[in-house]
Symmetry: C2
Subunit: 344 residues, 2 copies
C-alpha cells in the first residue's frame, strides 16, 4: 500500500467522484494507454517493471475499478448471457438448474445475468433485452416470438436459446416436453388399470405453459382406449383441495395426475382427510420427483424430470456463440421417467 500524507484536519473530505483510468494515469505519471496495458496484462506490449508497479499502486490507491460499459462499448461485444426471469413461479427444480447453469457459464468465462423484465411482453420485452447487447439470450417459457428473435439477432446476440415447450423460428430450442410428462403419467395410471383419470390444472397464473401440454399429453395417452381424462382446476390452497375432495365421489374418477408433487401432496392430503384410501380409491401421481414425495405415506408416485445439465447447456450456448451461422439446434430435454411408488 502506498502511504499518503494525511490532509490537514480542517480540510473537508473532498466529494471525490468515481476514479477513471485517466486519474490512475495522472497519479502514476503515465499515459492512459500505459494504464490500460498494465491493468490488462496486455501480452503484445512490454512495460517495464517499475512502471507496472507505479500503475498498480496508483490503481489500488484510488480504488480504481474499470467501467464495464465503457469497455464493452469499445470492444464492440460483451460476454453477457442474458436470462430473463421466468414469468412463472420458479420451483426448486428450476432454481437448482439456474445456479448450475450460472456456474457452468462462468467456467466458460461468460457472465450470467438474470433480468427482471416486468410488465413487458413479446416484442417489447425482447427490445428491452436487446438494449443490453448480450452475446447470448436464454429465454425460459414461451415469452419469445420470431419477431423477438429477429430483433435480438439484429442487435448482435449471437445465440438465442429458448427453454420451453415450443421452438421459435430462428432460435435454438431446448424443448421441455411437457406433453410427454402428461402422457407418461396418464399412461402409467392406465397401465395400472385406471380408466377414469383426473388431471389437475393449477388455477395459478403463469403455469398454463406447463399445465396445458401436460393435460394434452394425458388425453393422448388414453385416446382410443375408452378411458377418460378429466381436467380438474385447482388452486394451491387447502380449502380448494378439500372442496375438490368432497366432490370426488360424484366425479367418478379412480386416479389423478396432480400436475406436480406439491399439488399432489395437497390433493392427496385432502383425499385422505375425506376418508379415501390411496391408492385403492384413487391413485395419485405427481411430477418433479421432489424429496417430499418420498416422505409421504403412501409414498408418492411421480414423474422424474431431468433438466439439462448446466454444463451441457453452457456448452450449447458457447457453440452457438462461436458459430452463429449454424442451423438452430432443436433438442428435447426433460427426460420424463415414471417413478412408481405406493400412491398409484
Amino acid at each position: 500500500m502506498v502511504q499518503i500524507p494525511k490532509p490537514p484536519a480542517a480540510e473537508p473530505p473532498a466529494p471525490r467522484s468515481v476514479p477513471t483510468s485517466a486519474d490512475v494515469a495522472r497519479l502514476a505519471g503515465v499515459s492512459r494507454a500505459t494504464v490500460s496495458y498494465v491493468l490488462n496484462d496486455s501480452g503484445s506490449v512490454r512495460i517495464s517493471e517499475p512502471t507496472r508497479r507505479r500503475v498498480r499502486d496508483a490503481a489500488r490507491e484510488l480504488g480504481y475499478v474499470p467501467h464495464a460499459a465503457a469497455r464493452s462499448l469499445r470492444a464492440g461485444h460483451s460476454r453477457m448471457v442474458l436470462m430473463p426471469a421466468p414469468s412463472f413461479p420458479a420451483g426448486p427444480l428450476y432454481s437448482r438448474f439456474l445456479s448450475d447453469l450460472q456456474w457452468a457459464l462462468a467456467r466458460l468465462d461468460y457472465t450470467a445475468v438474470q433480468y427482471g423484465s416486468v410488465g413487458l411482453r413479446g416484442y417489447e420485452a425482447a427490445r428491452a433485452w436487446a438494449e443490453l447487447r448480450p452475446v447470448a439470450v436464454l429465454v425460459p417459457g414461451a415469452d419469445l416470438d420470431p419477431q423477438g428473435v429477429e430483433v435480438l439477432k439484429r442487435s448482435g446476440a449471437r445465440a438465442v436459446v429458448t427453454l420451453g415447450p415450443e421452438a421459435v423460428e430462428g432460435a435454438h430450442a431446448l424443448l421441455t416436453d411437457q406433453e410427454g410428462v402428461g402422457h407418461g403419467a396418464a399412461r402409467h395410471l392406465y397401465d395400472r388399470g385406471r380408466r377414469a383419470i383426473g388431471v389437475v390444472v393449477p388455477a395459478e397464473g403463469g403455469l398454463d405453459v406447463f399445465s396445458a401440454p401436460r393435460l394434452a399429453g394425458a388425453h393422448r395417452a388414453v385416446r382410443g382406449t375408452g378411458a377418460t381424462v378429466t381436467a380438474l382446476p385447482l388452486a394451491y390452497d387447502e380449502r380448494e383441495a378439500a372442496r375438490l375432495a368432497a366432490r370426488w365421489g360424484s366425479l367418478g374418477l379412480d386416479a389423478v395426475f396432480a400436475y406436480n408433487d406439491e399439488y399432489a401432496m395437497l390433493l392427496m392430503r385432502a383425499l385422505q382427510d375425506a376418508g379415501l384410501d390411496i391408492p385403492a380409491d384413487a391413485a395419485v401421481i405427481g411430477a418433479d420427483d421432489l424429496m417430499l414425495g418420498r416422505l409421504l405415506r403412501p409414498r408418492l408416485s411421480t414423474v422424474h424430470l431431468e433438466l439439462p445439465a448446466g454444463r451441457e447447456l453452457a456448452a450449447l450456448v458457447d457453440r452457438a456463440v462461436r458459430d452463429p451461422g449454424a442451423a438452430p439446434e432443436r433438442r428435447k430435454v426433460l427426460g420424463a421417467t415414471v417413478v412408481h411408488r405406493e400412491s398409484s
Copy 2:
C-alpha cells in the same frame, strides 16, 4: 412504413451489422442529434411532425435498438439495481420475495438485475459488481465486507443494502433476525414443557449463515433454565434422517427445532417411521411456514417468517438513491412469529 426500392435479385444480402442511431439518421436524412431528440421524446426541443415520422419510420425499418451501455456511459449513471445471486440455495420464500421486489423496483423505474458472481468472494466479488456501475446494490447473505461497501460506493453506487444477519459498516442493513427465529422456536418448546431440545444444523454448505444464529438463539432461549440445547447435524437425505432417528432414544431429547419446514418434514417422517409418537415422544417445530407443514399429520408447528414486502424495500432503495448521504438505515426484518399446530 418507408418503401425502399428492392435491390437487384442477384445482390447477396449484405451481412448487416448492428444499426446505430447514425444509420437511422442517414436513412431519415437528418442528424444524429435529431434522431436522439425524436426517439427520446425530448421535451425541450421541438421537432416538426414530418421529421419525427421520418425518423420513427427509419428506426423501425432498421430495427434500431438503442445501446444501453453507450447511453448510460454518456449519462454518467444508470438505473440498474444489482442483486448478486445468493450463495445459498434459494427457497420458495426467497424466490417469491425476489420477484416481488423486482416488480416493485420496476414500478419505480429501476431495472433489477440478478448477477451470478460465481467463485468470487468478498472484495473480489464487490469489484466485479462495481464494474457494472449499478446505482444500487442489494446483497443477500453475508458476502459483503466494509471494503466491499467502500469499493461499491467509490464506483458510484448510491445505495448499498445488505439483507442478512449482520450489518456492514457503511451500508444500509435489513437485518434478518435468524437468531430470533431460533430463540422463538426454542422458547416455544420450552414453554410447552420440553427441557432437552435438539436443533438441526443442516450439513449442506451455504446454510450456516442461517443455521448458526438460529442455534445461538436457541441456546439463549434456555440460558439459565436448566434446559439443554443440542446441535444435531443433518444432511437433507432420507438415510441420514433415519440414522438420526435410530439413535434418538440415546440422545435423551424430548424436542427438536428442525431448522426449517423441509428438514422438519424429513426428520418427523424418520422419527415416525422409527415408531416415535409426535409430539408425545418428540415435539417438532420447523420454520418458514410453508404450505407443506399444514399438510403433514400431525400438522407441523412452525416459525412464520415475514420477509419485507417488495414495495417497502424498493422504497428504501429509492430513498437511499435520492439521498446517498443519509445515515445508513438499520432495520430488523423477518418478523418471526411462532405458529403452534399439532407437532409440538
